[in-house]
Symmetry: C2
Amino acid sequence: MNLRDLRYLLAVLEHGHFGRAAEACGVSQPTLSVQLRKLEAELGVALLERGARGVAATAACQRLLPHVRAAVAEADAIQAQARSLRDPLSGPFRLGIIPTLAPYLLPRVLAALRTRLPSLDIEPWEDLTDSLMERLRAHDLEACVIATEPNEPDLLSRPLFAEPFLAALPPAHPLAGCATVAEEELARDILVLAEGHCLRDQALAICRTAASQPMRATSLVTLMHLVAAGYGTTLIPALAAAAAREMGLVLRPLATGASRTLRLVWRARSPHRTAAEAVAQSIIALTNREWQTSP
Amino acid sequence: MNLRDLRYLLAVLEHGHFGRAAEACGVSQPTLSVQLRKLEAELGVALLERGARGVAATAACQRLLPHVRAAVAEADAIQAQARSLRDPLSGPFRLGIIPTLAPYLLPRVLAALRTRLPSLDIEPWEDLTDSLMERLRAHDLEACVIATEPNEPDLLSRPLFAEPFLAALPPAHPLAGCATVAEEELARDILVLAEGHCLRDQALAICRTAASQPMRATSLVTLMHLVAAGYGTTLIPALAAAAAREMGLVLRPLATGASRTLRLVWRARSPHRTAAEAVAQSIIALTNREWQTSP
DNA sequence: CCTCTCCGATAGAGAAAATCTATGATGACA
DNA sequence: TGTCATCATAGATTTTCTCTATCGGAGAGG
């Protein structure tokens, strides 16, 4: 069975006339005649009653008609939706982001991304790096923003921007008086996130220490509350600075100026790589401008 | 766009593998490869991401997928329903019947018709002859049972049985004592149905008179009530005899034994003519047996 | 590091299907 | 009883699909 023949059938019924239906379909009258006879033969059911004064649907045909119309309507829907998805910079784009970045980056770029890529339907998805990469491989995400290098042959990535780390201290902390903080000093009472957060590993690596804290924090906000309450110090990424300051923390640059590099990662063969590149480009442009206007 | 290609797409997504999908579809792997590329080109959208380890749907494809599945499901529904309609003695069969016959004939034959033609879905439609014929011509009915000859070139008909007329009298009526009633005598105070009922015209013709009654009755039951109440006499078809007797009317054969002939009528070119003939045949057989068992 | 294997893409030939033009058949209508 | 309108049919042509054979790339494993 063929959608074309179903359309022929609907046309003949609509016009009640093979010739006019053929014209409407842009084919010759014998074509309709042959194809509809073939359709009747295939279904084993007489669909049309050919009278001297026009053509009418048989009762059997009337029973089938709702399904015929539905099938044709679904086909039309496929084409209509495909038309709106035709632009590579359109359609759904599921974007994974790590939790230590999402709440601080998204408010800054999401609205602007919608303006720059109006047909791209960016659906943010927040999770830990490993989960994001797994979803990316499983085609459940089109791209993700992470702070590590993916190092997989199937994946491509592009650096977006470097985000400096800052020492976050309670106001009363001895180091709060220094202009910069040496990583080794921070190490003494540093608090880090729960396992799985890349920021945890990076903080420990930068401070050349291992974690031994009794508290478990699964978000930066929790961590900053702990610091504000005087349990210790921590290392936060620069984009979280405003939130930290609002909580009364003192922020100091690190002695080495260590930073993490955020990257956009996507599957090398993904048909959405064009969109991914465009998203990367846009985030780069937006964050560069941001750094300048509100450092 | 083609239903076949949509099925190919679903198969590839289901198997995640062109080769196995091709086998499932009963075609070669290049066929799927070519056809699906063509489908992607036609829609202008990348549907599949071909990876080293299998094939996956793109985000665009996932948006289209519900419509694709729906279109294929509707096509399957068409074929399934067509299969059940394949038998010419199956499917809906809208059968028109005149009001002076329907309530008396249908109870006698409908159940038996269902037994004899179990897949034929007989839907009775009661109306006056003219309306029935109009609906028949308009393909809103497959056939009708009427008491007149259609006399139209597009229509075929077949006599079902002859139904004698009986004089219906109130018990106190002078003619109630006679074994038979002469039509001229009945004519004096005969009551007939409203205009449009063929029985009205036939009764008046048989009695060689014209109607001049003040009362208007649109059903035999009403008419019989009028007779029972002593407003006059009437002529009823034999199948209504039992109902008339139950109302206390006296029934007498007519002197001439006049009767009406019921006919089944259908469109000469209707694809349901086989069913129509079968229905006619069945009614003939059933009523013949009926006459014998309960005259 | 190199081969081996697996998988999808491609090319070209062949088969199948759809379509066209021309014409036939049938019934309505004047 | 022609004439018109309408759908069906025939045969040629074009388009589309499908096949076999083969290519090329990417992992896997020695």
